[in-house]
């Protein structure tokens, strides 16, 4: 109902009222404390009614008196935490990945060029990966990486103007689970929304699947999932259930898992 009202007059709406609702590109959201009072520009400093900085996440831009929506999806908000004054973002079902600094992704090595590897991560450009960015790698002790290998790594450089760069070590030089993924297993692609759902803490989907078989799972923020169970059959079952999760409700999923358990 509210949606209709906004669409009809094309005016801005308070951001808080739209949390959890569908927002469309071009919509303007007003921020609390700045609601069209005197049309003054948004103050970022801490002297406003909100403590800390308000962060404007994916799918939103600053403009006018508040935020402008650039993507279609559900508006989300996380309240003020330590040091930040809350985050607004748009949660959308997307397929194409755009590299973001700090994201953990699964890439495929496509070329070896001197001292760097080229890794396909599904973005608009291939990421580069230095051979020194592996745990324990030195100039003499090169990591064993071949073209076609799967890499689980993290972005340290990712912005629109530069080639993205990956590493397979954390800031203290430890692998921390990153590196080349073993030879067997199965890699498939799902939407970015499903990945975010799976990576959420205490994800029910993973817990349900855990009842089936023991399996290894690697989730890349770029929509790639790698699974390995004891047998190929079990691997495929897990992969198929995960792939189908996108269009299933919780009850449907539980039914599917129960059916698989019976057999």
């Amino acid at each position: 109902m509210l949606a209709r009202a906004v669409m009809a007059d094309g005016g801005a709406c308070e951001a808080q009222k739209r949390i959890g609702r569908v927002v469309m590109p071009g919509e303007a959201l007003l921020l609390p404390g700045h609601a069209e009072a005197d049309g003054e520009r948004l103050r970022l400093a801490a002297n406003g009614p909100q403590k800390g900085r308000l962060v404007c996440g994916p799918g939103l831009r600053r403009g006018g008196e508040g935020l402008l929506v650039t993507k279609c999806g559900l508006l989300r908000y996380r309240g003020p935490g330590s040091g930040s004054g809350g985050v607004y973002w748009v949660d959308s079902q997307q397929r194409r990945y755009v590299p973001v600094k700090g994201d953990h992704v699964i890439g495929i090595v496509t070329a070896k060029a001197g001292d760097i590897f080229k890794v396909d991560v599904g973005g608009s450009e291939q990421a580069s990966l230095s051979y020194l960015a592996f745990e324990g790698a030195t100039k003499r002790n090169r990591p064993n990486v071949q073209v076609g290998d799967l890499i689980y790594g993290q972005f340290i450089i990712a912005n629109k103007d530069m080639e993205p760069e990956m590493v397979c070590i954390d800031s203290s030089g430890r692998a921390n689970g990153m590196g080349v993924i073993g030879q067997d297993g199965f890699l498939f692609k799902v939407s970015l929304g499903l990945i975010r759902k799976l990576l959420a803490p205490d994800c029910e989907i993973i817990q349900d699947l855990g009842q089936l078989y023991p399996f290894e799972l690697v989730l890349g923020m770029n929509g790639r999932i790698w699974v390995k169970a004891k047998t190929i059959q079990q691997t495929l079952i897990v992969a198929n259930v995960l792939e189908a999760c996108e269009h299933m409700t919780a009850e449907q999923r539980k039914q599917v898992v129960a059916k698989v358990l019976e057999n």
Binding site: A3, P25, G26, L74, Q94, R95
Partner: protein, 237 residues
């Protein structure tokens, strides 16, 4: 507001009920709209758009890698491909491609993805009038499904003017053929401004303004449809 048919038309040859002519005071009436998003698995975004018996399928790819020759250093390269129902695209399709491309460029925030390409492929499935408008709508739905950053939404509306000066919104192929003038406008969602206009035939300034006004009112209906279909898409999520 939308025309409803008693039964689904299974075959393409069926003639549609003609669109009602309207005066400037009437509420705009459009043919029945049906849309499905994300139906194709390979593209990053897809949409099928049906407006009466006219049907267009859109596939959107991007932001993806771009050929060096087509690379633009500060914004995304936008490409539109319009495929006719049969045969290869010709001069007519090329000119329509350009119109759709310019409209999309005005709306898509290409600067957020420099040195990448955004490709929109439009496949005509049935042409039963108002094809350019349907293509524009399909392209917008496809872009929305792909999650590409956009400053606003846009839609396409076609008007047909007959010799007596009466105009019809969203005309069928037969009405388009009989009309003296056929006008198509692309309208943005924020201020309902005209992004693109195409005109075949002659008309007076007053008639043009009348058509723009009617199209702007019809655009509201289409934007409301966009919103409803997005709400439905995310309701299951």
């Amino acid at each position: 507001m939308r025309k409803r048919y008693g039964e689904a038309r299974g075959w393409i040859g069926a003639m549609e009920t003609e669109q009602k002519k309207c005066d400037s005071g009437d509420l705009p009436s459009l043919r029945r709209i049906v849309c499905e998003q994300g139906l194709l698995s390979r593209p990053d975004g897809s949409a099928s758009w049906m407006q009466g018996d006219t049907s267009v399928l859109a596939g959107v790819y991007g932001p993806s890698e771009v050929k060096v020759s087509k690379e633009i250093y500060d914004k995304a390269t936008l490409e539109v491909m319009l495929r006719p129902k049969v045969g290869l695209p010709g001069v007519y399709e090329r000119s329509r491609e350009q119109m759709i491309k310019k409209t999309c460029e005005a709306v898509v925030l290409g600067t957020l993805h420099p040195r990448s390409s955004i490709t929109i492929v439009l496949q005509v499935i049935t042409d039963a009038g108002s094809l350019l408008a349907s293509c524009l709508n399909a392209a917008c739905m496809g872009l929305m499904d792909a999650g590409l950053p956009m400053g606003s939404l846009f839609c396409g509306v076609t008007c047909a003017l007959d010799a007596d000066g009466n105009f019809t919104l969203d005309p069928t192929a037969k009405q388009e053929k009989e009309a003296q003038t056929v006008l198509t406008f692309a309208i943005d969602s924020i201020e309902k401004k005209v992004l693109m206009s195409s005109m075949k035939g002659t008309c007076s300034v007053e008639q043009l303004q009348q058509c723009v006004a009617a199209s702007q009112r019809a655009a509201d209906t289409i934007f409301q449809f966009y919103r409803d279909s997005a709400c439905r898409k995310y309701s299951k999520w």
